[in-house]
């Protein structure tokens, strides 16, 4: 490469001098030489004719009558001069300032999560990110390859590695905004596939099978996600391009649901929480719509960074779909709406097999549980009867409680074992021991929500040895007392101690004082809700966009379909157990499940993610990937985009035009 000895700046563009003075002088002689040659005229073939008399008169007539004839002669000269001018310009190596793609392999990772719909940069953050990427694709040199990945909470390879810039541009245009949350981890694993061979992301002992292909990783995102832990960039050289304004205005609904009023349990109430994630105090009207009809409204004024709860009375409302709307305009409209469903709850079908357990029966007969679940109580002898076999295998049961008894095969339902163990799944227990002290409980699990077991004493129990996949919920000084483990589509919970113990004398004694605590009926209520699949009150729980919903079919022969908020009807295959997994929950709104074309149930999908709704990038945005901190690239390293190839091409076009014009004059 010739060093850029001198450079100049013309209207924002740059030139680089490739010639020395004498070379320029030589080039400068070319135009006068062309003009000189033009006056010396062309080499003409001599031809003897009878008389030049008529020819001369013809030429004179043409000269006199047609100025165009004269112009045509001059046009060739002008074209030749233009050609040499273009050549001289190309030699000057003009260029315009551009952004630099430093590597031969690039990976463009574009965030299309919900927050990228923010309009704090016009027309939107996603459009701005795509504009950046389009510019970088234009900068690609011949031989450079690039890959395009979009990500929200899932990653999608929009275009595998290619040097076809048109394919990349088309793939870029196909990227659409989603309403999902953000998780960079999967996108990084996808991007790292070729750069770090052998890193499957799941198996650290994976054998390296191909040579590493280092790549530049360009991440276009507005952040809004947790640091990516447990990922090593390896051969990826990251560049984070933050998209969005430093500060933005956003009032977001972060929670919305329906529940019983604390004062009057017979009444339903709609609860919502609105957070001001902007930098200034903001106010808005909050509207509540029932089936598209405005039924209530409230006014909120929220200081910056704080939240405010609203509650609406739903007296007289039995069924319907609710929509909560923040009417103020802000930078992210999609979190200004939330949805909930009010409906008749489906009662869980519960079977309890017990030799007799009064405290347990009482706990399942409370008003709350009765509303949620229909409980059938049988003795362990029922296990041997054909009716049990039919019930256990049909999927008609939601939850089965085995109190000090054990079935031969586990049912197609969730189970709770009290003082006994599941026959399969790797469960075992230590011998019975007395005086167990509860030392830890996992309150994050739905079964133990709102529970305080500090005042519970367990007199006799067999500490559990749960399988590896199990989650210990209650731990004691000698071992786990409550654990839960997944089994295909179901879960098995095991309580290590019986509530009551059969005494040798024939009577019953308490193995724990838990039934006398308020936490016991609450635990059974949680079990009814979680293991029974019943829902509290009259509301369906909201799920997040993109999450999977497990639908329970009234029977295995029922055809289920779901109508999305965009009025698309999607069939959902039902598996032999009568359950169906529905995954197309990409957009917010009410999803209406139909069983054999009849309305069956509805469920709402809401964003409810303060991290996603928080649009502020801050003054120095950065990403944390593994142990690497990637600072946001606010400006690009300048580079020269040389134009000489284009100018030479233009020169060739001029030459072709000149040749065409000459031939047209001579032979046309």
């Amino acid at each position: 490469m010739i060093p850029l000895a001198q450079s100049s700046n013309w209207f924002g563009s740059h030139t680089a001098n490739m010639f020395s003075a004498w070379q320029w002088a030589l080039l400068g002689l070319v135009p006068p030489a062309i003009i000189l040659l033009y006056f010396l005229k062309l080499r003409r073939h001599p031809l003897v004719v009878p008389s030049t008399y008529l020819w001369r008169r013809s030429i004179e007539d043409l000269h006199v009558n047609s100025i165009w004839q004269r112009l045509r002669k001059n046009l060739l000269l002008l074209l030749q001069l233009l050609l040499i001018l273009l050549v001289a310009l190309a030699v000057l190596r003009p260029s315009v300032a551009g952004r630099k793609l430093t590597g031969e392999r690039s990976i463009f990772v574009i965030d299309n999560s919900a927050s990228m719909q923010a309009v704090d940069v016009k027309p939107s953050r996603l459009a701005e990110a795509k504009r950046h990427v389009r510019g970088l694709i234009d900068e690609m040199r011949s031989g450079d390859v690039a890959m395009l990945v979009s990500f929200s909470d899932v990653a999608k390879i929009e275009q595998p590695y290619t040097d076809d810039r048109r394919a990349l541009r088309e793939a870029l245009e196909r990227i659409q905004p989603t309403e999902r949350r953000t998780d960079l981890g999967e996108a990084l694993r996808v991007a790292a596939g070729l750069a770090n061979p052998g890193r499957s992301g799941t198996d650290p002992n994976d054998i390296r099978t191909a040579a590493a292909l280092p790549a530049d990783l360009y991440i276009f995102s507005d952040g809004g996600f947790a640091p990516v832990a447990g990922f090593s960039l390896g051969n990826l050289k990251p560049t984070f391009v933050p998209v969005g304004a430093e500060a933005a205005t956003n009032l977001a609904i972060t929670a919305f649901g329906v529940g019983r009023s604390e004062r009057d349990p017979q009444k339903l109430q709609a609860f919502g929480r609105i957070e001001n994630l902007g930098a200034a105090q903001a106010g808005s009207t909050v509207e509540l719509h029932l089936d598209g009809r405005l039924i209530d409204a409230d006014r909120v004024d929220i200081p910056a960074g704080q939240g405010h709860s609203v509650a609406f009375d739903l007296s007289g409302v039995d069924t319907g779909t609710l929509r909560l709307r923040v009417s103020a305009e802000d930078d992210l409209p999609i979190d200004n709406e939330a949805f909930a469903v009010v409906g008749v709850p489906r009662q869980a079908e519960v079977l309890m097999l017990t030799p007799g357990n009064r405290p347990l029966e009482l706990a399942l007969q409370t008003g709350e549980v009765s509303e949620l679940a229909r409980v059938r109580i049988e003795t362990p002898a029922f296990l041997k009867q054909p009716e049990y076999q039919t019930l256990a295998g049909s999927g008609a049961l939601d939850w089965v409680i085995y109190d000090r008894c054990q079935p031969e095969r586990l049912p197609t339902a969730n189970t709770l074992f009290v003082g006994s163990l599941p026959p399969v799944g790797g469960w075992s227990a230590d011998p019975k021991t007395g005086g167990l002290e509860i030392i830890d409980i996992d309150q994050s699990h739905p079964l133990l929500q709102w529970l305080d077991l500090g005042n519970v004493h367990v007199f006799l129990g067999s500490p559990l040895k749960p399988p590896q996949a199990a989650r210990v919920l209650v731990d004691s000084d000698v071992g786990p007392l409550l654990a839960i483990a997944p089994r295909e589509a179901y879960e098995d919970a095991v309580l290590a101690f019986p509530i009551v113990e059969q005494l040798p004398s024939g009577g019953q004694g308490m193995a724990t004082d838990w039934p006398s605590r308020i936490s016991f009926p609450t635990f059974m209520l949680n079990c009814a809700q979680y293991l029974g699949g019943a829902r509290r009150g009259s509301a369906q729980d909201s799920i997040r966009p993109g999450d999977t919903v497990t639908l329970e079919s009234p029977s295995t022969k029922t055809k289920l379909s779901v109508m999305t908020p965009r009025d698309e009807v999607l069939p959902v295959p039902v598996d032999p157990s009568g359950k169906a997994a529905f995954t197309s929950t990409g957009v917010q709104g009410i999803y209406r499940v139909q069983a054999d074309r009849q309305p069956y149930r509805s469920f709402p999908v809401n964003l409810f993610d303060p991290a996603e709704s928080n649009l502020a990038l801050g003054a120095a945005p950065s990403l944390s990937i593994g142990h690497t901190q990637v600072a946001g690239q606010v400006s690009w390293e300048p580079s020269r985009n040389e134009l000489w190839k284009w100018i030479l091409l233009l020169g060739l076009a001029v030459l072709a035009f000149e040749w065409w014009l000459y031939n047209r004059r001579v032979y046309g």
């Binding site: 003409r44 001599p46 009878p50 030049t52």
Partner: protein, 206 residues
Amino acid sequence: DASSSMDFGEPTKLRYALQLAASLGFIGLVRGDRIKIETLGQSPRTPAPVFRGRRSLWRMLDHLEGIRPGETASLAEGVKNFCLRNSGKGIVVLITDLMDKGGFEPALRYLVSQSMDVYVVQVLSAAEIDPDLQGDLRLIDCEDDDQAEVTVSKAVVDRYKQTLAAFVEGARSFCTRRGMSHVLTRTDAPLEQLIGGFLRTRGLVR
């Protein structure tokens, strides 16, 4: 006209002119007319031989065979000398291409002043009527070595044809206005067609 310009064409214009002269001469000899065949470059003091009677046919043909191209006299000068040598009544057939940079008008005016019936047969070759030229050429006049540089394009050829048409039309108009007959012929046209057709209608041949 035995000038150099008549030595072009396929056959040459001069060859065509000699054949025409021989044909007309033969008709005259058969009819017992007095026939005289002269070229424009002929010296004023050496008049051409006179032929009469069928027996003079071979002599006339020998005379015609002796005519060579390359005479340098202009059209006007040649006609003037002819008029000086030949006074009196008769029929004059001038066979020429009329390509003279001095113009054909002075020459024809000399003929008008004679009390003769004048027929002007303008002979042009096919290459002159429909030139097949292309490219950058330096055209050299065979008579005076005059050079004309021309880039022959379709437009130039079209313009040449227009000029030629105007030139022929000018000659015809000049002759008609002065009681002369003008006939244009091309060297690739059959001679008998010219004699049996056109000249017969004009009264030159019965």
